[in-house]
């Protein structure tokens, strides 16, 4: 889905400094209505602070924020049409599941029967029924996650903020919730802003991804853009780890004299490499079995790079193999991108 013409959230040169720490430093951003937008970055990169700026838990030190055309700075969190799903859910421990979900409606003065009906609907939306009278402490992590989602969605916010919502779940549950979130996004057509440090999560779920580093956005684009065409070494490394070649090394591997990214899965080994336009002889240093793939470390021209080979391709250490890749797989970048 592409963003529609209406802008849901806009940042104009927004900064948030904590003393000498520049948590967010001059961020420009436009999130379209109905977009599933991911903020990706390592911890301390400013992505969560950006989310808190939208929610209103933080005030910008400088710059301007708009939510659906309205100035947001100076507006208290309870006066914004924005709801948050917190990292550790932040469910009220002294309330039942139903009371938790109905909370937003209760403080808006919606009568009891009506708000309980809406809360039940929200709970069935996240497929958590029959738990109305339980306390959060009696639920599993995945169930709490669903309650937190229902509690935010029941208010029909214009923007739903999700702060690493899947971080505390185990792998299986995380994948299930990823599907669930995508389904909800499609079904409700709301704007989702999703903070994560997990690049897989960002790439698989979002319409667009902003990669954060040191308080700044280093690249914004579709998941394909970010993955296939990283603009800096930092993005290439952080998003799906890549082989990064220096401007000196790149020409020896078929590229131009620029910082260059070569994704490990574009490197083919053995007979299949013969059809590729860049070919080398390599020595296998080490192979690591990872289920579907084998992570294969290779030495080419004295340089160590790694490839993802199908798990059927098992090699001996020290074995000489032919490797190859398409010239188009070499992606030249703007710079190192670590000095931001």
């Amino acid at each position: 889905m592409t963003p529609t013409s209406t802008t849901a959230v806009m940042f104009e040169n927004v900064s948030r400094h904590f003393g000498a720490v520049r948590a967010v430093d001059g961020v420009d951003l436009k999130i379209g209505q109905g977009e599933f937008f991911a903020m990706l970055g390592p911890s301390g990169s400013g992505k969560t602070t950006c989310l808190r700026l939208i929610a209103g838990f933080e005030q910008p030190t400088a710059g301007h924020i708009e939510i659906f055309g309205e100035t947001a700075e100076g507006l208290a969190p309870n006066r914004r049409d924005v709801n948050t799903v917190f990292q550790d859910y932040a469910l009220f421990p002294h309330m039942t599941v139903l009371q938790n979900v109905a909370y937003g409606l209760m403080v808006r003065g919606v009568p009891r029967l009506e708000r309980e009906k809406c809360a039940r609907e929200a709970l069935s939306l996240v497929r958590l029924e029959g738990m109305d009278l339980r306390r959060p402490a009696q639920l599993s992590g995945g169930q709490r996650q669903r309650v937190a989602l229902a509690r935010a969605l029941v208010n029909r916010p214009k923007v739903l903020l999700l702060d690493e919502p899947l971080g505390a779940l185990d792998l299986k549950l995380r994948e299930e919730m990823q599907d669930e979130l995508r389904r909800l996004h499609k079904q409700l057509g709301l704007t989702f802003v999703f903070v994560t440090h997990d690049q897989g999560e960002a790439l698989s779920m979002a319409d667009r991804v902003a990669v954060f580093n040191k308080g700044r956005i280093v690249q914004i684009g579709t998941p394909e853009d970010i993955y296939q065409r990283p603009t800096t070494r930092f993005v290439a490394d952080f998003v799906g780890s890549s082989n990064v070649l220096t401007p000196d090394e790149a020409p020896r591997f078929g590229g131009v004299s620029r910082w260059t990214s070569l994704r490990p899965e574009s490197i083919l080994i053995g007979a299949v490499a013969d059809a590729m336009d860049v070919r080398h002889t390599a020595e296998v240093i080490d192979q690591q079995f990872q289920g579907a793939m084998r992570k294969t470390r290779l030495k080419i021209n004295g340089l160590e790079i790694y490839a993802m080979a199908p798990s059927s391709q098992a090699f001996d250490v020290g074995q000489a193999v032919t490797v190859g890749w398409a010239r188009s797989a070499l992606h030249a970048m703007d710079g190192e991108g670590n000095d931001v």
Partner: protein, 311 residues
């Protein structure tokens, strides 16, 4: 290997092994001394005291008649004695409510805002009054509240002394001076027990995660709603814990009303007078059962309110 095992076989190590194999034995060893102290010496003497309330005093000889009778309990229900009980319970309830209202903002500030040095200063200021003698503090208050005291002097200088005079002319809460009125007793009780209310509330507030307050605001609640629906219910166990202190301490105190206040008796004073001056041990015993019963009712009520399982 076997050398090592042999060397370790002293009497102490076999005790350690025995304790390791029987965890209950360890628990028993740990708990026996305090249980002996509490069970035998404390509870034992308490029950001995309670049993005394079923004896009676021979009015003529002043000798305790060691025969089962309910006459002491009938005597306790006399209007003069009931007055003492009602007065004490009312005072305890008022002191508890006033302390809770005063303690909450202080505790809230300490739990949510004070950091580093300010936090240290908070603990210091709250605890410091507990370092000095209770008697010194009470006598100090007597002087402060006296007719010649600083409050009268300040009000006089401000030309507001008529307010104090008007207040003292009120029935029940007034009196010849603040230090000889119910109001004076109330003020001193509130002051002396305030730390016991602040600390449990502060501890309870510390345990309320900050993100619950953010979540409440995020869901559209005004600060007032957040206080009512999130902060207060979660801090309530702390308020109840504090109220148990302030209520029971006021219920049993016999020094403060003796030094500051009118001539009316409180429960503690009644016990003191009956067992000392009057030598009526059975009635003193019956009087001392009263706060125990009241606290029993109070705790049951607090539990019904869900104060103990709110977290």
């Amino acid at each position: 290997m076997s050398d090592l095992a042999l060397r370790r076989r002293g009497p102490l190590s076999s005790l350690i092994d025995a304790v390791y194999r029987h965890p209950r034995l360890f628990l028993a060893l740990l708990l026996a001394p305090p249980l002996l102290w509490l069970g035998v010496i404390y509870l034992g003497s308490l029950f001995a005291l309670l049993a005394q309330s079923f004896f009676s005093l021979d009015d003529f000889s002043g000798v305790i008649v060691r025969e089962f009778t309910l006459s002491t309990w009938t005597q306790l229900m006399a209007p003069a004695n009931l007055d003492v009980i009602i007065r004490t319970v009312l005072m305890s309830a008022l002191v508890t409510i006033a302390d809770a209202i005063m303690a909450f903002p202080i505790a809230y500030y300490a739990a949510r805002y004070a950091r580093g040095l300010m936090k240290a200063a908070f603990y210091l200021l709250v605890m410091m009054p507990l370092w000095s003698s209770y008697l010194v503090k009470v006598y100090a208050w007597k002087l402060i509240l006296a007719r010649e005291g600083i409050d009268t002097w300040v009000l006089d200088k401000l030309g507001l002394k008529f307010l104090l005079d008007w207040y003292l002319s009120l029935p029940v809460i007034g009196g010849p001076s603040l230090s000889a009125s119910y109001t004076g007793t109330f003020i001193v009780f509130c002051y002396v027990w305030l730390p016991y209310m602040i600390l449990p509330i502060q501890a309870a507030l510390e345990r309320v995660p900050g993100n619950l307050i953010e979540a409440s605001a995020d869901l559209g609640a005004s600060p007032r709603d957040t206080f009512r629906h999130v902060i207060l219910p979660l801090a309530f166990p702390g308020v109840v814990a504090g109220s148990i202190f302030t209520f029971s301490l006021t219920l049993g105190d016999y020094i403060i009303p003796q030094i500051v206040g009118g001539s009316q008796y409180y429960l503690g004073q009644a016990v003191y007078a009956q067992q000392g001056t009057a030598g009526n041990i059975p009635l003193a015993a019956a009087f001392s059962v009263v706060p125990i019963l009241i606290m029993g009712v109070y705790l049951t009520f607090a539990r019904k309110l869900g104060a103990f399982d709110a977290l």
